[in-house]
């Protein structure tokens, strides 16, 4: 390839590099700032001294979170539990449904396909969903965060088209050797699908870890709250109360929050909630990107 060395091209290169630096700084600065503040001393936080490096290195906020405030460790475990169980069940449900629907010779396949695609486009909205979950007696339990979200039609469709890429002879051979449909799925298809299954598992896991709205709708017991909902209480409600207080609206601020959580604890809670994502995302992003590309280019 010929290098273009004209003035216009050089200017374009400069613009490109400036934009890239801007993107890097804008993306990393908020995260680094929050992490730095969470490790700083309360005096330095209160006087707003901390930018990218901790000032007056201090672990008291983490000590409070981990050993004094029972809610945060508990909610962390709740989130881990919900994410593990939810992901496992979703992957199982999505896989078996997609496997059956991927068979071209399945009876009534057209009907079944229409049936699972319609929910991608139409829904009843949150009120009827809430009423269903309530009628089924799930409100207040962890199952209300999982059962209403068992299959994402989107990932179902992607799995179906993935299973279709398998040469039919493979399963034919398995069946001649005496495998049933279930045997072919478990012994032939699944071992060859680990990459695809891992991808949807990652998607489901990230969305379980990050979700807060179902918990907001369906849970009423503080002991069952997932981490995101605790984070909302500690950071969002508190900063609002903070703000109202500094505007002189003390009464309204008190309504919102009896006692305002110290800033260092708010920052540290935020860090605790994003650390798992910060650790795993560089490893899983390529799967996500692939998944999004497959999904987008199919349409």
């Amino acid at each position: 390839m010929v290098r273009d060395t004209s003035v216009g091209s050089r200017i374009l290169d400069i613009v490109i590099h400036l934009v890239m630096i801007l993107v890097i700084v804008a993306t990393l600065f908020p995260v680094l700032n929050v992490v730095a503040v969470s490790f700083s001393s309360p005096e330095n936080i209160a006087s707003g001294q901390v930018a990218l490096l901790p000032k007056g290195f201090n672990l008291s906020a983490y000590h409070t979170i981990l050993f004094e405030d029972v809610h945060i460790p508990k909610s962390f475990l709740n989130s881990v539990f919900i994410t593990l169980i939810g992901t496992a069940v979703n992957v199982l449900m999505t896989t078996i449904t997609a496997y059956a629907l991927s068979k071209r010779y399945l009876v009534f396949r057209g009907v079944f396909m229409t049936y699972v695609v319609i929910p991608m486009f139409f829904g009843g909205g949150i009120i009827p969903l809430f009423l269903v979950v309530k009628t089924l007696g799930l409100v207040g339990s962890f199952s209300s965060l999982i059962i209403p979200y068992l299959i994402s039609p989107w990932w179902l469709i992607i799995m179906i088209s993935f299973f279709r890429t398998f040469p039919i002879e493979l399963e034919e051979a398995a069946k001649i050797d005496g495998c049933g449909d279930l045997g072919a799925l478990v012994r032939i298809v699944l071992p060859l699908s680990t990459a695809a299954v891992a991808t949807i598992a990652l998607f489901y896991a990230v969305s379980y870890w990050n979700s807060f709205f179902p918990a907001l709708m369906f849970l009423n017991d503080y002991a069952k709250y997932p981490l995101q909902l605790i984070l909302r209480d500690i950071v969002l409600q508190n900063t609002l109360a903070d703000q109202l207080a500094s505007q002189g609206n003390a009464a309204l601020a008190n309504d919102l929050q009896e006692s305002i959580t110290p800033q260092s604890v708010q920052y540290a809670t935020l860090v605790i909630s994003i650390v798992p994502m910060l650790i795993v995302y560089p490893f899983i992003q390529k799967y996500f990107v692939k998944g999004i590309m497959i999904g987008s280019l199919k349409g």
């Binding site: 890097i24 496997y99 909205g125 269903v132 984070l231 505007q247 992003q285």
Partner: protein
């Protein structure tokens, strides 16, 4: 494919004599597959189709009756007014309607106006980077916000913009300005909403354009260079046309959401102080329907909103077909 059909059909025709019914035989033969389908079908029935039936709540004077499933309560509940439209009328004639309409539209409109072109520009510029490692580093960094929860993103904003201790206000004060109570001022809400949306989705938003760009034949660029095209001309004449179909489809989908701003993020961001600019249809549905338990009214507002969204989707698709010959259907 052929082989399987033949063997299946052969099997079927041998046993058809015994079974007497081809379909019934097939069902028996595929019973494992059909059993695998049962949980999934049941799931969609309960959590997609029953809620669709539940839309009736919007047209009826519905009360949750203890000990009865909601579907029977809906069935026996009286209609709301002559055509079941009382809740819709109450909403449209109510004091909030135009405020909600305006807020929903503006948040959606600004999200598209600023949020739609920026990932495209980013993808175009990223595509110009020659160093593979540099490129993948920038990309990896840009994906980060996508993986953070919306609670964490709003939390970060609130902490960094906090009046006394947030770094933004600390800097403002140092530069000699008054601190700004960003989250307490209605005038700031739209800016915060749209800019955080761009921050969160920039990297992932660019992915589909980069995917489309990776399909462009390198020879096209080489021959353009031989013809003396500048890099901007190459972008304009080769790169942009290559991603046009994806751009149009993303835009149609985006336009269909102009009035579909979701409740989740706004519920985290707003407060009674900022309702004037922040309250939208979906947050109103949440407050009236779920917090205040006015199920029928909430469902009516939600349905009204969905109907407008479908209208927007259909119109956007129609216009796109007319103007660019690309469309969803």
């Amino acid at each position: 494919m052929g082989a399987s059909h033949q063997s299946l059909l052969a099997g079927a025709s041998i046993k058809r004599a015994k079974a007497g019914n081809g379909l019934w035989f097939k069902i028996k033969q595929q019973k494992i597959l059909l059993l695998l389908l049962v949980p999934g079908l049941l799931y969609f029935f309960l959590f997609s189709y029953v809620p669709m039936y539940g839309i009736l709540v919007a047209f009826k004077k519905f009360r949750m009756q203890a000990g009865h499933p909601f579907w029977s309560s809906v069935f026996t509940a009286p209609w709301a007014g002559a055509y079941g439209l009382d809740y819709f009328k109450a909403f449209i004639n109510g004091p909030y309607f135009w405020m909600l309409m305006k807020n929903t539209f503006l948040l959606g409109f600004y999200s598209i106006l600023f949020g739609f072109p920026i990932p495209i520009l980013f993808a175009l510029l990223l595509n110009e980077l020659r160093n593979r490692y540099y490129k993948s580093f920038v990309q990896t960094v840009s994906y980060l916000p996508y993986f953070l929860s919306i609670v964490a993103v709003v939390g970060m904003m609130k902490l960094m913009l906090a009046p006394d201790t947030g770094i933004v206000n600390v800097l403002l004060v140092k530069l000699g300005f008054e601190p700004i109570y960003f989250f307490g001022l209605p005038g700031w809400f739209r800016t915060l909403f749209v800019s955080s949306h761009i921050w969160k989705d920039l990297g992932m938003g660019a992915v589909i354009y980069l995917a489309a760009l990776s399909k462009v034949d390198a020879e096209q660029y080489e021959s353009a260079v031989l013809d003396g095209a500048t890099r901007l001309q190459q972008m304009w004449n080769i790169t942009l046309p290559a991603i046009k179909p994806v751009v149009v489809i993303t835009l149609i989908l985006g336009l269909s959401h102009v009035l579909g701003v979701g409740a989740e993020k706004i519920i985290l961001m707003y407060s009674p102080l900022t309702y004037d600019t922040a309250d939208v249809f979906s947050t109103y549905v949440y407050r009236q329907g779920l917090v205040n338990m006015d199920f029928s009214f909430g469902a009516a507002v939600d349905l009204f909103n969905s109907v407008i969204n479908v209208f927007f989707l259909v119109s956007a698709n129609y216009l796109a077909k007319k103007i660019t010959e690309e469309s969803l259907w």
